[in-house]
C-alpha cells in the first residue's frame, strides 16, 4: 500500500518533471523560431562544424549519428555507409571493409586513417591481425570517401578511405564518463577530459572494452575434413567461435596556438575467431599494441598561405599463440606426423612507421585554390619472430619438430624488411565559371622497393541548379604489394614475389546531390571501375603445391548508391540508403564473390518527447555470390534489425541512459568463409543481444 506522503511525493515529482519539460519546450520553441533548426543551433554555437564536402562521393557520420545507430564499435558505424559492407574474417573475426564489390581476405583495399594518419601495417596492408576494430566513444565524426583517394592519400586509398576524426579538447569541453554492459559478458567504461581554455588545449581519454564474444557455432571446420579423410576425430567442431576481446584505448593531446601534440595507445587481446587455419582454436590468442604519436603545426603563415606540417611515429606489434590444428590431429597418413598437443605456432610481427608530411593551401590566384604536399614515410618491419612445433613437408603437410622450436633465424615465415616512400602531390580547384569547378590533382610516390607510381584525379563539379549538384569524377588509385606478398617464404601454400608492382584501379563516377524539398536530401551515385594488376596467389607449375603472388588479376564492376534523408516531422527523421554493385573477374568472367550485390539500410530517428529518442534500424544484405571454384550454394541473405532508446532526463542535465537491442529478431546471419569451403556453413554473426548504457557529462 502506497502511503499518502509517498503519493504526494510521486505526484510532485511527476508534476515537476512535466512542468520542466513544458518549460524547456517553450524556451526551445522560442529559440527555434530564431535559429530555424537544432542543427543550425549546433552550428551557430560552434558545437558542430558545417560539413564541407570534398569533390568526391563522401559520407560524413557525426557523433549524433553514432549514438542513433547505437554503435559500440567502429564496424557497426561503417555498416551504415552506402556501398560499404563490413564482413568478417575467419581469423580473429577481424573486419573486412568491402566497398562496391571489392573484397580482400586481408582487408587491404580500404585505407583507414585516424586523424589523417594511416593505421596500416605493411605486413598485410591492413590494420594488423590483432586489431578487431576500435570503440567509438572518442570519435567526433567519420568521413568515408567511396572510390579512389590515392591522388591525395597515396597507398591503399584503393576502394575508399575511412578517416576517423577523434574529439578535440573543445569538443569534450569538460568531463564525461560512462559505463555500458550487456550480453556475452560485455563490459565497457570510458572517461574523457577536455579543456580548451586559457590558450591551451588539453585532452585525455581512456576506454576499456571487454567481451567474452558471441556464441556462434561452426558446424564443421578444416579439421573435420582431415578427420574424414584420415579417420581421426580431432576436430572441435561443432564448436563456438572465439570472439573474446579486450581493448584498451587511450589518447592524450596537448595543443597551444598552431602546435598540437597527440598520442594514442591501443592495446588488444582476443580470441582468433575460428582459427588461423580455419580449424576451431578456442585457446588461440592474439595480443597487440599500437602507439601513434604525432606533432602537427597548422597556421595561416601569410596571406593566402595555409601551412600544415605533421611528423608522426607509429609503433605496432602483433603477437599470437595459435593452434593451427587441434590436439589429436594426425597427418601421418599424408606423410606428416601425429600432434597430440595440436599444431602450434607463435608468429609475431613488429613494425615502426615514421612519417613527415608538409602541405600548403594557396588561394592567391583568382578562381583557384591550390594544395601542395610532400613528405617521406619509412615503413620498417623491424622484427619478426616465430616459434612453432612443426615444419611443413614439400606438400604443405605438418611434420612434428618434437617440441616448440624457435625458427626465427632458420625457417621463418618472413624476415624483417623495410621500405622508404617519398611523395609529392599537387591539386588545384579551378572555378572556371560561376557554377563550374574543375579539381585536378596528381600524386607521385616513389617506393624504395618497387619504384614509382603516379595517380591522377579529376573532379568536375557543376552546381546545376539551386537544389541540384552534379559531379563527374575520375580517379586512379593504387595498392602497393604488402611485405607478405613480396617476401613470404618457407610457406608451401603462399610464397612472396619480390618482382610485384602495385595493383591499380581506375574509377569513373557520376554523382547527383539533390534537395527536392526543404525536408528531403537525396543523392544518387553511379560508378564504374576497372582493376589492373590485382595481386593474386597463382598456383606454381607442378609438382609444386605452392602458390606465388602475381599481378595477374583483372576485375571490373559497376553499380550505384541511392541515399535519402527525410525530415518527415520535427520529431521524426528517416535516413536510408540502397547500394547495388555488379563485379566481374576478367579472368574467369565470373562474379569474384563475397560482396553483396544489394545492400539496404534504413533508420528512424524519432523523438516523441525531447528527453527520449527512439532509433530502430534495419540492414539488409543480399546476393553474395560464391567465388569461382567454390561449389557451395549461395550464402543466405539476411536482415538485421536493431533498436536503440536514449533517455536524457530533463531534471538531471548531463545524464543519459540508453538501451540497445541488436539483431532483435535473432536472424541467423552469416558472413562468407573462404572459398576453400573448409568452413562449409560460413561464419555466424551474433544473434539477439542487448546492452545498457549510462553516461554523464559534467
Amino acid at each position: 500500500m502506497v502511503g499518502k506522503r509517498t503519493r504526494i511525493l510521486l505526484a510532485s515529482i511527476v508534476a515537476g518533471w512535466h512542468a520542466g519539460v513544458i518549460a524547456a519546450t517553450a524556451e526551445e520553441e522560442a529559440l527555434l523560431s530564431l535559429y530555424g533548426s537544432e542543427e543550425i543551433v549546433s552550428i551557430a554555437t560552434g558545437q558542430t562544424q558545417p560539413i564541407s564536402r570534398a569533390p568526391a562521393v563522401a559520407t560524413v557520420i557525426t557523433r549524433d549519428d553514432i549514438h542513433e545507430i547505437g554503435a559500440v564499435q567502429l564496424a557497426q558505424v561503417l555498416e551504415t555507409v552506402p556501398g560499404l559492407h563490413v564482413s568478417a574474417s575467419s581469423i580473429g573475426y577481424n573486419p573486412i571493409y568491402t566497398m562496391r564489390g571489392i573484397y580482400t581476405q586481408n582487408n587491404s583495399a580500404m585505407l583507414l586513417l585516424v586523424n589523417g594518419i594511416p593505421m596500416t601495417q605493411s605486413f598485410f596492408g591492413n590494420q594488423g591481425q590483432v586489431w578487431a576494430g576500435m570503440p567509438v566513444e572518442d570519435i567526433e565524426r567519420i568521413e568515408v570517401i567511396r572510390g579512389p583517394g590515392s591522388a591525395l592519400y597515396g597507398a591503399d586509398a584503393y576502394a575508399g578511405v575511412i578517416n576517423v576524426i577523434t574529439r578535440t579538447a573543445a569538443d569534450i569541453g569538460g568531463v564525461e564518463a560512462g559505463v555500458r554492459g550487456g550480453s556475452y559478458d560485455t563490459r565497457n567504461a570510458w572517461a574523457s577530459y577536455g579543456d580548451a581554455s586559457g590558450g591551451w588545449e588539453k585532452k585525455f581519454y581512456v576506454e576499456y572494452y571487454t567481451t567474452k564474444g558471441h556464441d556462434g557455432v561452426v558446424g564443421a571446420d578444416a579439421q573435420t575434413s582431415f578427420d574424414q579423410l584420415l579417420g581421426t576425430s580431432a576436430s572441435l567442431a561443432p564448436g563456438e567461435v572465439n570472439t573474446e576481446r579486450d581493448q584498451l584505448d587511450a589518447r592524450l593531446e596537448l595543443g597551444k596556438g598552431p602546435w598540437l601534440l597527440r598520442t594514442m595507445y591501443q592495446d588488444r587481446r582476443g580470441g582468433v575467431g575460428v582459427g588461423i587455419a580455419e580449424a576451431l582454436d578456442p585457446e588461440g590468442q592474439g595480443e597487440g599494441y599500437r602507439w601513434l604519436t604525432d606533432l602537427t603545426y597548422h597556421k595561416e603563415v601569410a596571406q593566402h598561405w595555409d601551412l600544415q606540417a605533421t611528423a608522426s611515429y607509429y609503433d605496432v606489434a602483433n603477437e599470437s599463440s595459435l593452434h593451427l590444428f587441434p590436439a589429436g590431429a594426425d597427418f601421418t597418413a599424408l606423410g606428416g606426423g601425429p600432434f597430440p598437443d595440436g599444431v602450434y605456432a607463435e608468429p609475431d610481427v613488429y613494425e615502426r612507421h615514421t612519417r613527415l608530411e608538409v602541405s600548403a593551401f594557396y588561394t592567391g590566384f583568382s578562381q583557384h585554390s591550390m594544395r601542395f604536399g610532400t613528405g617521406v614515410h619509412h615503413a620498417d618491419m623491424y622484427k619478426t619472430t616465430e616459434r612453432k612445433n612443426y615444419e611443413q613437408n614439400p606438400f604443405g603437410i605438418p611434420v612434428p619438430l618434437g617440441g616448440i622450436d624457435d625458427v626465427t633465424d632458420t625457417n621463418p615465415f618472413i624476415r624483417p624488411h623495410d621500405r622508404t616512400i617519398s611523395f609529392l602531390y599537387l591539386q588545384d580547384e579551378w572555378r572556371f565559371a560561376p557554377d563550374w569547378s574543375l579539381t585536378a590533382g596528381v600524386r607521385y610516390d616513389n617506393y624504395s622497393d618497387f619504384g614509382d607510381t603516379i595517380n591522377p584525379r579529376l573532379a568536375l563539379v557543376w552546381n546545376t541548379s539551386l537544389n541540384l549538384t552534379t559531379k563527374f569524377l575520375y580517379g586512379r588509385a593504387f595498392r602497393p604489394p604488402t611485405f607478405s606478398e613480396l617476401y613470404n617464404e618457407n610457406n608451401p601454400a603462399v610464397l612472396g614475389n619480390p618482382d610485384l608492382k602495385p595493383q591499380t584501379i581506375d574509377t569513373y563516377e557520376l554523382a547527383f546531390d539533390a534537395r527536392p524539398r526543404e525536408d528531403v536530401r537525396t543523392s544518387l551515385n553511379l560508378f564504374y571501375y576497372s582493376m589492373q594488376d590485382a595481386i593474386r596467389f597463382e598456383p606454381d607449375p607442378p609438382p609444386a603445391t605452392s602458390s606465388t603472388a602475381q599481378n595477374s588479376g583483372e576485375q571490373e564492376g559497376y553499380g550505384g548508391e541511392l541515399e535519402l534523408s527525410w525530415k518527415a516531422a520535427r520529431t521524426l527523421e528517416v535516413v536510408g540508403n540502397y547500394a547495388y554493385q555488379h563485379s566481374e573477374d576478367k579472368g574467369t568472367e565470373a562474379d569474384p564473390g563475397f560482396a553483396p550485390a544489394h545492400q539496404l539500410y534504413a533508420r528512424l530517428n524519432w523523438t516523441p518527447v525531447s528527453s527520449l529518442s527512439v532509433h530502430p534500424q534495419v540492414s539488409y544484405i543480399a546476393d553474395r555470390a560464391r567465388a569461382e571454384g567454390d561449389t557451395r550454394e549461395a550464402i543466405d541473405d539476411y536482415v538485421i534489425t536493431d533498436l536503440t532508446l536514449r533517455y536524457r532526463p530533463a531534471q538531471l542535465r548531463g545524464l543519459e541512459l540508453a538501451i540497445s537491442g541488436r539483431n532483435i529478431f535473432d536472424e541467423d546471419a552469416r558472413e562468407p568463409s573462404s572459398s576453400s569451403g573448409l568452413i562449409p556453413d560460413d561464419l555466424p554473426l551474433p544473434g539477439r543481444h542487448y546492452y545498457a548504457e549510462l553516461r554523464y557529462a559534467w
Partner: protein, 325 residues
Amino acid sequence: MAHATARAVISNIRRTLLAIVGLMCLYAPLTLAADNRVGVVYPDIREPYLSIFTAIVSGVRQASFDEVETLAVTTETTAEDVRRWRDQKGLAGVVMLGRHGTELAQALKDDVPLVIGAVTLSPGLRETRLPGIALDPDPNAIFRTIKKVTPNVKRVAVVFNESSSGWLIERASEAARSHGLELIPAPSANLSEALRQYKTLLNGGLSKDGALWLLSDRNVLDSKTILPYILQEAWDENVLVVSSSVEHVKRGALMAVYPDNVGLGTSLGKMLKAQLSGKGKAGGRDALIMLLDTKVAVNLRTAKHLGLSSLRDRQSEIDTVIDPH
C-alpha cells in the same frame, strides 16, 4: 582657554574626519564588491540550446565583474526563489535570460537592478519596458555585414508588413542611410501581397547593385511556399539574398547574421554595469535594444554561383561557411 577650546574643536573635527574616512575605507570595498558581484539566471535547458546560454554567461564574465553567480531556472522557479538567491549571494544585479527569465524579471524589476537577454522580440516584450538586448539582429548589424562582405551592394529591398514590422523598417531606413545604403521598403498587408512584391523585386525590380533582405516575419515569409520560391528565383536571376536566419543560408540564401552569444553576454554585462553605476537605463520604452553582437554565415555554393570571388579576401569577416552540397 580659548586656545584650548579651539584645539579641542580641531581635535574633534580631526577625529570626526578620521572616523568618516575610516568608515569610508571600511565601507568602500564592500560597496565595490557588491557592485561587482552579479548573477545570471538562465533556463535549465538541454543541448544544443544550453550552449547558447553558457556562451552568454562566459560573455558576462568577460564584462570585468569580480564574480558571476548562475542560477538555472524552470517554470517552477518563482520570483521569490530568485529574490532569495540574490539576497543569499549578495548580488548587486542580475542578467535574466530566456523566456521564463523575462517573466521573472517583470516581477522583480522594481526590487532588483536587472537586464534581460536571449529572448526573441514579440509584440508584448517591448511593453514590459525592461532593459536588455533581444536576440533579433539590429538592422545596423545586417547593413554593417552587407557593406563588409559585399561592398558593391548599394540598395537593399525588403518586403514587410506594416503592422508587425513597420517600426523595424523605420529604424532600418535610418540605419541603411548611416551605412551608405538605400533601403527600398515594399509594404504588403498579407502573404499573397508579399509574394507579389517578391515576384516584382526578383524579376527585374532590383538593380545589379541591389540585394534582398528577408525578414523573419510570418506575415511576409512562409518557409514552406514563399521561401523556396524566393530562393529559386534569386538563384535563377542572380539576386543576392541576406537574412537573419542561418537556416535560410543553408537553403540557398547568400548570407545571414546570427547572434554572437559571447559578445551578447559582454554587452549585457556592460549594460548592467552602467545601470548599477547609475548611468544606464533601468527601464522604459527604448530600454530593450536589438542585437548588435552578430556573426556572419555565408553559403559558399551560392557565393560561387553569384561570382563573388572577392569573398576569398574577406574570409576573416565570415564566421561560418556553409557548403551544402
